[in-house]
Symmetry: C2
Subunit: 431 residues, 2 copies
């Protein structure tokens, strides 16, 4: 074995040892967190927010180092903007932590109660999940957001920050830990992985010998794909948000114009942004041209099927690939379909099961759409951009999940809990 390979092995072993220790610390901390009262968790979050404000000088200094390195590495302006912090943005981060402290404690909620004929009273009661691994890219606010959400739900968090935000995330994590200490909670309840080495991600994906219960990736498609591919523990994620808006023959044109515009263009980079517009052939003559013109005039490129190309010379012909593309940009694919069945067939084939909407005044058509589209969020007569934990009233969210296990749709504090059964008897034995 060459010297370099030997050194690499030694380094990998070091990282394995470090990560396993982080895992054990997290599991131990999670036991204390699981039993912490709502008041104590809230006190910790308020102390974290105060610590973030008190450490603003250090955090902004560390952020300046990250930004400088990212600039030197030639990162694009949009990347630098996501990374950059100033006093106002840091204050926003502190306030977001306080907003999480204002949520109802999801732990201990009695989800169901049933008394059995033999007198046993059985309750299903919410408990924390345990240890949550969060792997994210270069948005430094995630360190605070995700850490606070996990703690509020009684979980320990292991956070792996993007290497470009490593200095900023480390400074934020120190503030979070001091908040935990101040409230008398174990500081290992929020641990930042202390290395930029990507081997740490691989270690997390193995679950650290059973010390991670679930992984939440937050970032672009390649990160999520790697996590979904390699993780040996459950993952809460969506690979992409290939969201559809279907304009049914009985859609009000003005409502359709407003919703399609909002769903596509309010923010084009969010996962709830519409990527494909389906128009019912039965109303194409009246609705298609105005919808296409509105989009183009609002600055959106339109890639359409034959029928769509025919109504506006500015439409570019769509290819099969367009029905499969999450643009995350001011581009939309437009297709004319044969009624509700055509729309359902297109969505079944191409949707990423994130959020899909129908616009119609026909209640029966709406109900069929809501029942038959197998997506985490199905919408009638509203914008797909409501696909968001805040808009759902969940408060902050750690992400949106498209899987069918445990959490689906926006993942807020309630979705970061599990449950157990409490059985209360008076001496019952089973016959």
């Amino acid at each position: 074995m060459s010297g370099a390979a030997l050194a690499g092995t030694a380094l990998a072993d070091d990282i394995t040892l470090t990560m396993n220790e982080i895992g054990r610390n997290a599991r131990r901390a999670s036991r204390a967190l699981a039993l912490a009262s709502a008041d104590r968790k809230k006190a910790a979050l308020f102390a974290m927010a105060a610590a973030l404000r008190a450490a603003s000088g250090e955090i902004l200094r560390e952020n300046a180092r990250d930004v400088e390195q990212a600039r030197a590495a030639g990162q694009p302006a949009s990347f630098i903007d996501r990374l950059f912090l100033d006093e106002a943005r840091l204050e926003g981060i502190a306030q977001a932590v306080e907003a999480i402290a204002a949520l109802t404690d999801p732990v201990g909620r009695v989800l169901a109660t049933f008394e059995r004929p033999n007198g046993l009273v059985i309750e299903r009661v919410a408990t924390p999940l345990g240890v949550i691994g969060v792997i994210f890219e270069s948005r430094p606010n995630v360190t605070a957001d995700a850490g606070a959400l996990c703690v509020m739900a009684g979980n320990a968090a292991i956070l792996r920050a993007g290497s470009d935000s490593f200095c900023t995330s480390s400074a934020i994590a120190r503030a979070m830990a001091s908040g935990l200490r101040e409230a008398g909670l174990p500081e290992h309840a929020i641990q930042l992985v202390p290395t930029r080495d990507r081997a740490a991600v691989g270690a997390m994906l193995t679950g650290l010998n059973g010390c991670i219960d679930v992984i939440v990736p937050r970032g672009g498609k390649s990160l999520v794909a790697r996590v979904q591919e390699e993780a040996r523990v459950p993952v809460f994620a969506h690979l992409e948000g290939l969201c559809h808006v279907f304009v049914h023959e009985r859609a009000d044109l003005d409502m359709a114009l407003a919703i399609v515009r909002n769903a596509k263009l309010r923010r084009t980079g969010v996962c709830g942004a519409a990527e494909t517009l389906l128009v019912d052939r039965a109303c194409a003559q009246t609705h298609l041209a105005p919808l296409v013109a509105m989009l183009i005039e609002a600055g959106c490129a339109v890639r359409g099927d034959e029928a769509t190309c025919a109504v506006d010379a500015r439409v570019v012909a769509a290819t099969e690939e367009d029905w499969r593309t999450e643009y995350l940009d001011a581009i939309i694919a437009v297709r004319v379909v044969d009624g509700l069945d055509g729309a359902l067939a297109h969505i079944a084939e191409y949707s990423s099961a994130h959020t899909d909407a129908i616009i119609t005044d026909d209640q029966a058509a709406a109900e069929r759409f809501l029942a038959e589209v197998d997506s985490a969020i199905v919408v009638h007569n509203a914008s797909t951009q409501f696909a968001d934990g805040g808009e759902f009233g969940f408060g902050a969210e750690i992400g949106i999940a498209t899987g069918r296990m445990h959490a689906r749709g926006p993942v807020g504090v309630e979705q970061l809990t599990s449950f157990k059964y409490r059985v209360r008897g008076s001496g019952q034995t089973r016959p």
Copy 2:
């Protein structure tokens, strides 16, 4: 490559092709099942029960073949007994399917509703999970039970029977398929893997290219361990039921005697059977000797710590291994612990997170135990043998899960569902 190896590869390829086709068929069937009404699913289950009765001649003939082969292979009597069917047992299987048809349809339940300030009405509504893979050993009734439960929850099932019950399970599966056909549901909603080859299990554990959503193993510890180790999809299971009963210092002795006897000895082979008895040092002087005497006189071997050995000469000294052993037999490990804290520490170290019980008249101690023991089921003043979907009022169960994801405790039809969000608007766009 040798001829034999080549033939092996060809066979493995065949099995991969077969299993992938089964997966695709199941996924297609699951879409139809997801939209099936409660009435249609119930009709299918009643038709299955009728078909099982009508096919009793064939099923019992096939069962006789399985039993003959198992005898020839030298399987023990307990194994043969689990495998054996007669008219009465087959009638029991048909009635169990009818009992599942009597359950409330878990699909479409509105789990939560919230109206947002902008007028959006958001519902969380139960949906099927999709495709469930069930891998089981030689109890032929599981073919009918598991298939019926999956269908009632709107899921397709892929069933892999133990090779010793292959003929019986195949005959039962044919009856189930004819019931599905009769009700107008796709017969691929219940598919039995048509080979004894163990490579089929490996294929299922990969998830069949995304065509299996969850795996449920039903069988002994080695089967569950293999599935948990190798599955690339979520698993609902418990590896073992290392259940504890803690007799607290304020336990009523008569109640303790009755509950411990029932928890250990009602049936020793079930996962909810107690394996370890913990006795509070503060009541050991009054409670330990009678508990030990009762157990021994009821035919139970006792393996005890020093304090337990001291009260009864018939007690055998326990080793560390005893605290970790699920006997599934008339053997119990007994240890004296220092109060509630000692019991909590022992349980945190050794419990399999299945079911643990406290016996006490002290409400505060009971509440601490119920809160702090991190098991799927925690019990106060009742037997651990109530750990059962039927006893919980869930109707039939497909098993008991000790994981924290999605399903925990008894897994009945409700736990075989997922959910989605239905959002109803009147033209809302997001500001």
